[in-house]
Every structure is written in C-alpha cells, then in structure tokens.
Symmetry: C2
C-alpha cells in the first residue's frame, strides 16, 4: 500500500500512516467469491494485497467486464461509495485473494484528521481519472485488433490471469470476435 502511495507521488508521514493502517481490516476470499454483489451499496475500499479481481456489469443479461485489478492495487465502486446508492457493478475474485479493507465512513473521518490522507485521496482520484480517460481514448482511436494488441503489449498480465471471454467484453467485442482476432494475429 505504501508503495502505491509513493507510485502516485504521495507521501504520508509516519503518524498519518499509522493512523491509516490502524483502520484497515485484514480479510481474504476464494476464487469465485463475490465481494460486492450487484445492487448492494459499496461501503468499502479494498486494498488488494494478493490475487486478482474483476469488476463487471450486466447488460441485457450479458456480463461485461469493466475493470481488471491485479495486486497491489486499491479499488472501490466510487459512485456507490460516495452516494450510498446501490452499485450497478459487481466485483468477483478471479484468484484467491487477500485484502486490507477500509470502511468508507472511516476514510471520510480520516480525511478530517489528516490533510495528508485527504491528499492521497485526491491523488488516487486523479490517477483513476487519467487511467479511465486513457481507456476511453482507446475506443476512439483503435479498432478491436489494435485494442487487443495494446493489452497484449501494455498489460500482458491481464491475458495470463483472466479469461479471454472477459477480456473480450472488456475490449467491447464478443468472445467469438476476439478469438478470430487472435488467430489473425498469429498468422501474420
């Protein structure tokens, strides 16, 4: 976790770091476990220490993957966490996982107590925004094959640790199309 903070250019004095750490709860989950069910309000920030999870939505009965997270990584369902509304996303473990959980309400109290923690919150939101925008640009600029090649080159870990059918919906194509694109790639 502290590494992630440094990665986004943040620093946390020891006392603030201690304050933060004291509110984390250690949990774990098995492959296949759903850690956030559809339509449940999201009340947690997960610090994924080990494993891999997937965020998904249901679109006309079809599962569509919106995010892949691989440890170490911090994630939540922001809209739901901020407003208390039911989450339109679900989160499932794709491997056995270990977490440090932080309650949203507790985090908001920590914001009051430490400007440094508030700052980390801002930096994390900024990074997520940039990442999300770069994903959208992928759809504006690249066709399906190029999007696949981008993942292959920039995030090969995703191909190793998640199912292709989920990578397909993440890329905005059907699993059949992804299969054809991969074949195309090998023959060139």
């Amino acid at each position: 976790m502290r590494k992630y903070i440094e990665y986004i250019g943040g620093t946390l004095p020891d006392t603030d770091w201690q304050l933060y750490k004291d509110h984390l709860k250690v949990t774990s989950a098995k492959k296949g476990d759903i850690i956030l069910a559809l339509n449940k309000p999201c009340k947690t920030i997960w610090h994924l220490a080990k494993g891999a999870v997937r965020k998904l939505e249901i679109d006309h009965g079809i599962e569509k993957t919106t995010h892949f997270y691989i440890a170490p990584k911090v994630f939540t369902v922001l809209h739901s966490a901020l407003t208390g509304a039911p989450s339109d996303l679900s989160i499932v473990c794709e491997e056995d996982c270990e977490f440090l959980e932080l309650d949203i309400k507790l985090l908001q109290e920590l914001y009051e107590k430490s400007i440094y923690i508030e700052r980390i919150g801002r930096r994390m939101a900024e990074e997520e925004f940039i990442e999300e925008f770069s994903m959208r640009r992928m759809f504006l600029k690249l066709d399906a094959l190029q999007r696949y090649e981008y993942i292959e080159k920039e995030h090969p870990e995703i191909l190793r640790r998640f199912q292709l059918k989920d990578v397909a919906t993440f890329l905005g194509v059907t699993p059949e199309t992804l299969s054809r694109l991969r074949k195309l790639r090998f023959s060139v």
Copy 2:
C-alpha cells in the same frame, strides 16, 4: 464557480473562498481561438464562465473530439498539468468565451494553505473520474445509434452548440455514419 462547488457536494468557508478567488485571473477568447495548443504543457485550470470549448486530439491527421465543455464548468488537461509533460490534447473555443484562470502552481500552493480547497480538488477529480467511466461504459454497452440517442436525450445542448462532425468523432464514428444514423432516426 461556487455553484459548481456546491453541485459536487463541497463547501468552502468564506475566508477560503476569498483566498481562492484572489488567485483567479479574468480572461476571454473569441470563437476559433486555441487556448491550449498541441504539445504545449498545460499550466492552467480554466473556469469557463461563458461560452463553449472543445478538447481534441489528432489521430493520424484526423481530429477527434474527446470532450465538450459548456459554461459553467471547470477543466484542465490533468496529466499535463500534474507532470509538466506536453499536452497531447488541444483546446479550442467554439463560441466567444469568458474564463477565470488559475495557475496550476498557485493551486498547489493553495492546497497547502487550505484543506477545504484540497478537498474541492479531490471532489472534482472524483466527479471527473465517474463521468469519464460513464463515457467508457457507453462504448461497452451501446452501438453508434444508441450512443447518439444518449447524447440527444441526456446532453441535447451539445447538439445545439457544437458541429455534428465533432459530435461524430466524439461518439467514435465517422461524420458520414452519424449522418446516416440521424436519417435513420427520423424515418423510424
């Protein structure tokens, strides 16, 4: 501006608000003016008080619109502003505009002076993230016609104040395709 802060659920005590206001610089620009050129580092946060602007990138010589902003709205090129790197986006006025500009460096100093301003910064980043994600979901869930209908229904102002060719690239289709989709829509 203060309205925008309230909209995102923020509050700014009078003294902090005064501090913030004192650092804003009033500027204006004409329709067609480029307020941020491609490859220049972005050093400004613009508070768009009046008018409409468009953010765009160049992809293989083709202009692609990434954002539309209509007053009142706050925007910057976050990645460039945070890192000092040249902006891969350009910003152009689509109407005569009035701005309140805030220098990025000044804002970072203000973060040191006021936890409330820091908090507004966090809230803005969070809102931008949620907005950006909802845009990406549009590409995952909707085909081109449905994306157009979404804009027509949820953001009709965009159709009134920007050119269709730019709406087309924003939606990830060619202007010719958008034209056909619109024709289709009217005949149904």
